[in-house]
């Protein structure tokens, strides 16, 4: 990887008016290219984002998280990104850890790096999520998608331009996490997991959410 790669931080945001300020405040101090995809919010997300030195892309109607990430990817790729980082709008991830995600790409030629909540760093994870939902997620990922990572649903990831061009996100909704992992393995990319911290403001995916992801994955596979 060349020196001084052009890094793009991509943040999907849906009704994150309350949380996004603190995230952007920190991000713009460290990164020049921050892209926020406002996914049809009906709160003041866009107005708040407009106050920061970032790129704002607006989905005029809600298309969900996977679609927003692909919109951000397309913009970043069109604008010469060398490394793309997927980040969260509601302060779940730490800005300081972005560099730890990028390092393996820059220094060790990895293609894609996933943050893992199961590699040592302390994340206050809800009990049911840690002991029921994620073990099931891991089994499903391994059985259906041949994915062997410690974290089945990591949303914090960094990838090279080449990896982003290969991994076209087709799942508009929440199944994109599994889809990206699956494609990373399918295209035989050089994959690395690094420990990450997650601050749980809310539960995220619950059990019914997990079922919807499973349904989306299976149906998309049949429809192909």
């Amino acid at each position: 990887m060349q020196n001084n790669p052009k890094i793009f931080i991509i943040i999907p945001a849906w009704n994150e008016g309350k949380n996004i300020s603190s995230v952007l405040e920190e991000l713009v101090k460290k990164y020049e290219n921050v892209v926020v995809v406002d996914d049809g919010s009906y709160d003041k997300t866009s107005e708040i984002v407009s106050q920061y030195t970032v790129v704002l892309l607006k989905h005029i109607i809600n298309r969900d998280q996977g679609a927003s990430l692909q919109t951000g990817n397309d913009y970043a790729l069109n604008n010469g990104a060398d490394i793309l980082v997927h980040f969260d709008a509601d302060g779940q991830f730490l800005v300081d850890e972005i560099q730890e995600m990028i390092n393996p790409i820059v220094n060790e030629n990895y293609d894609i790096v996933f943050g893992s909540r199961f590699m040592g760093k302390k994340s206050k994870m809800p009990w049911a999520k840690k002991n029921i939902l994620f073990p099931i997620g891991r089994i499903v990922n391994k059985a259906i998608l041949k994915i062997k990572t410690t974290d089945p649903q990591s949303g914090f990831r960094a990838m090279t331009r080449d990896a982003a061009q290969k991994i076209q996100i087709e799942h508009d909704r929440k199944a994109h996490c599994s889809e990206i992992l699956h494609k990373a393995f399918k295209y035989k990319l050089k994959i690395r997991e690094v420990p990450m911290t997650v601050i749980y403001n809310r539960f995220g995916q619950n059990f019914s959410g997990g079922i919807v992801i499973l349904k989306d994955l299976i149906l998309k596979k049949i429809l192909k």
Binding site: N33, Y52, T53, V55, K58
Partner: protein, 117 residues
């Protein structure tokens, strides 16, 4: 029973005529036209010759013709549901593509804000 048969036959004739009209105006594809034509003709045959379905049902080890029709109907309905689901997914994907293009074409780049002010 004969009155019901006449009403159903009139309805079927109306449905087939409408179908032919739609096909002539290219509002329906050949495959769709043939599918619905076969469906309506089959319904007509079943109404006028119900014993045919019993004979057919017996071939499949099913006792009553009406049961056979219900089984076949369920299979057809599920197949149609699946096709509708696939069609909706395709529409959803196309909507996303349009929304994405609008978002990127109208990107609001504020990265130089500080330098300009």
């Amino acid at each position: 029973m004969i009155i019901l048969k006449i009403i159903i036959t009139l309805f079927l004739l109306f449905a087939i005529l409408t179908l032919i009209k739609q096909f002539k105006k290219s509002q329906i594809a050949l495959a769709g036209f043939l599918f619905w034509l076969i469906v309506w003709i089959t319904v007509g045959i079943v109404f006028w010759q119900p014993e045919l379905t019993t004979r057919l049902a017996n071939q499949f080890g099913i006792g009553r013709g009406s049961d056979f029709i219900i089984y076949i109907s369920i299979i057809v309905i599920f197949y149609q549901l699946f096709r509708i689901y696939a069609h909706i997914e395709k529409i959803e994907t196309n909507i996303t593509k349009i929304i994405r293009k609008i978002a990127i074409d109208n990107a609001q780049d504020n990265r130089k804000l500080d330098k300009n002010n």
